[in-house]
Point group: C2
Chain length 415, copies 2
Amino acid sequence: MCGTDENGTAPQPAQNQKSASWPYSQVQDYISQVNSYKIIESTLREGEQFANAFFTTENKIKIATMLSDFGVDYIELTSPVSSPQSYEDCKTICSLGLKSKILTHVRCNMEDAKKAVECGVDGVDLVIGTSSFLREYSHGKSMELIQKTAIEVIEYVKSQGVEVRFSSEDSFRSDLVDILTLYKAVDKAGVNRVGVADTVGGATPRMVYDLVRTLRGVVGCDIETHFHDDTGCAVANALTALEGGATHVDTSVLGIGERNGITPLGALMARMVVTSPEYTKSKYKLSQLKAIEEYVSSVVQVNIPFNNPVTGFCAFTHKAGIHAKAILANPSTYEIIDPAVFGLTRYISITSRITGWNAVKSRVQQLGLDLTDDQVKEVTAKIKQMADIRPLAIDDTDSIIHSYHLGLQAQASSA
Amino acid sequence: MCGTDENGTAPQPAQNQKSASWPYSQVQDYISQVNSYKIIESTLREGEQFANAFFTTENKIKIATMLSDFGVDYIELTSPVSSPQSYEDCKTICSLGLKSKILTHVRCNMEDAKKAVECGVDGVDLVIGTSSFLREYSHGKSMELIQKTAIEVIEYVKSQGVEVRFSSEDSFRSDLVDILTLYKAVDKAGVNRVGVADTVGGATPRMVYDLVRTLRGVVGCDIETHFHDDTGCAVANALTALEGGATHVDTSVLGIGERNGITPLGALMARMVVTSPEYTKSKYKLSQLKAIEEYVSSVVQVNIPFNNPVTGFCAFTHKAGIHAKAILANPSTYEIIDPAVFGLTRYISITSRITGWNAVKSRVQQLGLDLTDDQVKEVTAKIKQMADIRPLAIDDTDSIIHSYHLGLQAQASSA
């Protein structure tokens, strides 16, 4: 029932069908970063804000090591100011010598920044709320004070030979002119990256494109983006940000984070292996994704969502008759992602009332039986009839096929 | 630990902060349908293609009734040609007299269309693959033959006084000129809706906007959209389609469908209650969403994903100290959706190492204890210390607070 392409790559429409006119099939915005994006993996920071997360030092080391092996560019850790253990763990992970650079995420003040640098991180991610909501109800600071503090802290971190990012929080509900002014000032002060954050998960792809595209014209530094998933747009927003000129995307494994979380690493990989197949497949060890998701899901005690892109239990299961027929002829008809790229396989179900005879024929052949097309159609009708009555398992349908085949043999020998 | 707004509505940024310049906060494209969108609920068609789905007649009646009560405009059923029971169930559901109109989804040929009309449906949804992939590997028909057949079938269905939709399959990998030609012809033939389908789940928001916006200029009829979620963009694509002039969105409960499914009803509601709060809240009974999801998840034997928008177990849980502080002052700081709109409540966690003293202060007050801010900070440090060692439950943190409070009383009485 399973089959994968030998070469592990699904045919790409643009390669096979150069003459057809699909919008976007061969167009690439000059400003787009989809072929050079970088990942800031925040399972050990944003993910620690997930309701179920309690990471031991051992968990943190294993997660960081797996993510580094997978190929993420950066690993972000909880602020060392959060608790004594957070401080110790930050130092421990910095000392592992991982391939990924290690960041920690701290409030934009000198005390927190000093503690971060003390831990030996490669970079410090500064954050402060800039929306009128957060300025009124959280820290109460004016934009002038935010800017003054930001520049002092940035200059300090840079003086220590450490990378520094400055991010607003709730960027999409911040005054556009205010944040552009602020980003321009910190860019001039030599920040390595500015960050745009949809902290409440309310942004839409077109809002994201507009803001990032505008910001791209204002600053020369890298642009990092962070999207919460409250309204189900976190993956699409991340892609659209890259199209608009953002350079970095924040992810966490399975998207774990505050509330229902952020852009999931796995779903982003599903998206980017379609948008930017060569870069994505050469840079990230996609076949390790499932093991990483399984480890993190066991640590935070959740099930991998049934509908998860790529690793959901039925992400490559085909059931309707017309789908199965075409998939058997060419997997690209109903699959935009080749499961083999992620070390997975496809499955064609024939156990339901909506199956079709082409799918059943494929199973008949796998069972080594010899039936004509008319006979396959007859046994398909028997399967559909039974599937109307109760749920069938694969051994039920195999029994129906075998029993039908035996009946034919009995008829032939008695004739 | 829980609290909701009395009036059931979160403050809207655009109302509170008219002077601020947020992109999109007050802009509305003239072509956008976000304030008048309609839902075609396909749990009983697309959802039946989900690997785990086996719906009995009783399940189907209950699901259709719940969806109709919820307020969806259309309910789409599996083709009556699929199996004898599918035919019977289609007739049964048409006879229930539900508020939602009943559709069935059939292949674009006269035989299937006649069977559909025979069942008493309000509308017939015709579908045929138009991508070169599907034309080569599935049905093998030319565009000319597709168009000729489509017009014959459309004219037949209309002659029976029944609504008719014509949809391509795999629209985003179909030749743009081919499908615009086809849609223009069926529009002229009087079709009620044309459908755009991202059958493989590879479309991106900007591809969707461009195709729908272009199509909007070519046809006068309604435009239905159908998005698979293989690359995590199904919700954002649906929204962007509405922004580009589409009128209808296909959904299923929890997104169940082929592979990892389509735009989920619940996630679309989360998106639209933010984008178009008045229309969405007045049209759909959002407080019934959770019950519908729970019923369907039990029928198809899956768990509601931990990270589901709105109904995921932690969608309204706040954990980090700086989030909790602001949420306590004004929920809109870190919530774009008011949980009360869906009949749900929020939860502020104080059981982790990343909690903060404002969150703990709120719990101290709920427990009816009297502590100064300095004392709250001291007990917060104790909680963080303990939370560094092991996962804490809410009664653990309550015990730490009570024990600290008792200690203070003992000091006071011995002094």
